[in-house]
Symmetry: C2
Subunit: 526 residues, 2 copies
């Protein structure tokens, strides 16, 4: 039983949310009709414009540079002759593993990707729209460690993984259950994907990411979701997403391109994610990082379209900077933020859903001031840039090495604030409060006006974390930092968790299939 | 002797920085001619566009609501019949202390305010431009307490005040020396302004704010700057700024309007600053807070123009939200951020320099994760909204009750990042790094390319704070938080401080004048 109404997961996507929206005007009208603020069905609507950093002229220059990279340097598909064949048949120039594209060719190949599509949860309720005026948040991805203030930092286990799936399910501010939120290091490498997909399917009902670390694991993931959704459902419904990393610079390895082809063939969401640290996987200058990212994404989207025209994709990016003196990776930096802003614009010009920037990312080892300065900077810029999907929206520490339980709930709070912010300013006449001015006057306070009483309950976002409170009381209480005050929050959430219902026969089928697949292969630990 | 070149204060404002700029094109060209990044003379140039939250149509609706407030409710000038007389002569309706304006009248009265002007430091070097494409950052204002990790929180003293003036002088990221950075509680209330103005003049050479807490203190402040700059210099040079708070809702008291009239008569910068917490000094809805703020600012600017046509002003705002359950003030919230964005747009439509939003503000009691999440959120939004001046850019804790030495240097670091960010993306052909791609190729790293070697030194902003470093070493070192790692930074800055030179005769005149003024009145402690 979920007692806190704020913890009720987002509701059913009603008709309007599935309609293609352009320009935000209809959303703005929707907001006016619902001046009370957030409702379950508008928790992912964006009523504010995306920030436009660069002029169209400059964006066109960057696109030309991406075309130059595609035609003069090209991209290598290592060990995947099927991908190379698809490109050859489409008219690209293929020499060995190197594929080159005439200027404009990549953009043309991307043009069949949908601008917007729905992803469905297993209960038909917890879905969302990717693209257009929608924003989808998901937790961190890929950490081998977890940490909390009680037990410190240690290797993540399957129990940790399940805990983060549960916390994500409980939060109205995360729409997407994530993928490898943390690595269940206590499960053999070649069997982890089975337990992770099961956890997403059993302990949540939000859409999620499947295995990509080998073509077989991709197929296993699809087999499991088919047990839940039915075979034919996937032909015209997107229920699972694949994180396809580019081996920047300009390489797709067969693991990634193989997984891409499997998910694309199943008509499921393929998110192309170059990860470029300027100076290492690309030049040290931002214009180059932006153009290279754009080129690499277009290649991935093009391959998905060649596998299956109309395949749903995400224009993804992840980029950060290095301290070029110490070699340390740095996050939330001005250079990375500028790249986020520019890439969001380039993605919009390609008319596909955008994952831009990093989310709440940081190099910090604990959920301290540095962690939240970097995370907030990166996250605010991603949101204002017009991202449709933001990964790593909660939990990240240590450049992604660690998921922190405390930072997870601190980040969640910021997600809630940002989802409130993107609803924009209500400018209905009621919001101007003329009756309050007529009731008071210069020098009088508004606390007890009828207008304040009508609106105070939902006027402002309410934080879910305990306040520090007044200084003297806080000092007596041991001066707890935000991280320390957050410690109780994730525990109380987990204590309240109840798994969403599942048909026992389907659960049984999932468990049997997983047991069979596991017993069919020896454990691999690396 | 300042050893760290990063600590050299901003350089002389060269010719182009004084020219009126519109649209940013000339700046963008300037940036291209100087691809290396920040130089001393461009540390306040904005090469990125301001974010536009609302449409012109919506902004016009808000302006109509401000006009409604001005005409139907009006503003009270309490105990200042001279101000009321000026408005009466200008055609406003005056009944007792209440002044009302026909729709459009306030905007017309504001039209003589300059869109952009320079403020000059005493050495003719450390000045800046307010307005247009420029951003000026200044430290916190008004805290009765200070805190640091060695000595904890205590009442601020004159020594603390001087320390923050020195730290501000040393930082290239703060252009403005501030005003009452913290309250020197060990100096009598009626004499503090003399010691504060002296500290700004003696320990810095950046422009600053003078006393405003009585008309006499305003006059004293101008007397002291005249000793340094000369009597006639102030007629056509702006060297000092006044923080004119509105007693929201819709009241100017005689202290504030009196100080306003004194600074305006001397042709110095008058910054009008309503401070509205929705639900208390205005309705709880953001549209109302925005419109009321706009109305109150216009009244203040109008008065300054009636005192002296062409008087330099700042369109200021400060607004925050309350937790409407606990009554606690909250900062960096989505509602406050939306108001910041909208007010920046309204200020631009009035064609005057804008101070928007709060800066690095927080309710937190320490420089923890909450502090930096709130501060970063508010600061990022202020910068992207197109603020020309940001107050409280460094040091704030506890809703302004406390200036923290550690948070000050943590905030400074973020200021440096943001000043880098507003320079935008360099898209010169060199920044595309084609030679680096030709030198490497798919799958190869860029660390040792000629392009990386040409650019690595200035490619990325370099943090001035110690890195946390690798996890195991950090753990062995006692897991220091960012706040703890910042502790040494302000000390090393103060240790390197040397006061800028001053003509001994001028210094003597300042000291004598202050001593004479101090001895002319008994101490007042409240």
């Amino acid at each position: 039983m979920i007692l806190n109404p704020d913890l009720v997961p987002p509701g059913h996507l009603s008709g309007p949310s599935r309609a293609i929206r352009r320009g935000g005007r209809s959303n703005r009208l929707a907001a006016r009709q619902n001046p009370g603020g957030i409702t379950r069905s508008n928790r992912q609507f964006r009523n504010i414009p995306a920030y436009a950093l660069l002029t169209d002229e400059t964006l066109a220059e960057i696109e030309q540079q991406a075309d130059w990279i595609g035609s003069e340097i090209g991209v290598e598909f290592r060990g995947d002759s099927e991908a190379a064949d698809l490109f050859r048949q489409a008219g690209a120039s293929v020499e060995g593993e190197r594929v080159r594209f005439d200027p404009g060719h990549l953009r043309a190949l991307c043009s069949t990707a949908p601008a917007e599509y729905d992803m469905h949860g297993r209960d038909g309720v917890n879905g969302f729209t990717l693209g257009g005026d929608h924003l989808v948040l998901m937790p961190g991805y890929g950490s081998p460690f977890v940490t909390d203030l009680d037990n410190g930092r240690r290797y993540a286990t399957l129990e940790d993984f399940q805990n983060f799936v549960k916390l994500t399910y409980l939060s109205p501010w995360l729409h997407h259950s994530g993928g490898t939120i943390c690595e269940p290091m206590d499960v053999p490498v070649n069997k982890r994907h089975l337990d992770m997909v099961y956890a997403h399917l059993r302990f949540s009902n939000k859409p999620f990411m499947g295995g990509v670390t080998s073509p077989g694991r991709a197929r296993d993931s699809l087999d499991l979701v088919r047990l839940v959704f039915g075979d034919s459902y996937l032909d015209d419904h997107v229920v699972i997403q694949a994180n396809i990393n580019v081996n920047s610079p300009l390489v797709f390895d067969s693991t990634m391109s193989g997984a891409l082809r499997i998910y694309a063939a199943a008509n499921q969401s393929v998110a192309i994610s170059p990860a470029i640290f300027g100076g290492a996987m690309g030049p040290v200058t931002q214009a180059a990082v932006i153009a290279q990212t754009h080129a690499e994404i277009m290649v991935g989207i093009a391959l998905a379209q060649l596998v299956r025209k109309g395949c749903p994709v995400v224009y993804g990016s992840f980029h950060s900077t290095m301290n070029l003196k110490s070699g340390a990776l740095t996050f939330g930096t001005p250079e990375a933020n500028l790249a986020t802003m520019a890439l969001a614009q380039l993605g919009r010009r390609l008319r596909v859903p955008i994952r831009c920037g990093g989310g709440q990312i940081t190099a910090s080892n604990s959920a301290d001031g540095q962690a939240m300065q970097e995370s907030t900077s990166s996250m605010m810029v991603s949101v204002l840039s017009g991202a449709n999907q933001i990964w790593h929206a909660a939990g990240w520490l240590e450049g992604g090495l660690t998921m922190s339980y405390e930072k997870f709930v601190m980040d969640l709070d910021h997600c809630g604030m940002l989802l409130r912010m993107i609803q924009g300013v209500n400018v209905e006449s009621e919001a101007f409060g003329r009756d309050a001015y007529l009731e008071t006057g210069p020098g009088q306070n508004f606390l007890s006006t009828a207008h304040t009483l009508r609106h105070f309950a939902d006027a402002n976002y309410q934080s879910e974390l305990p306040e520090a409170g007044q200084y003297e009381a806080w000092l007596e209480n041991g001066s707890p930092t935000a991280e320390q005050r957050a410690n109780g929050r994730w525990k109380s959430m987990l204590a309240k968790y109840e798994a969403p219902a599942i048909d026992p026969a389907i659960d049984e089928a999932l468990r049997e299939t997983i047991a069979r697949k596991k017993s069919s292969m020896p454990d691999e630990w690396y």
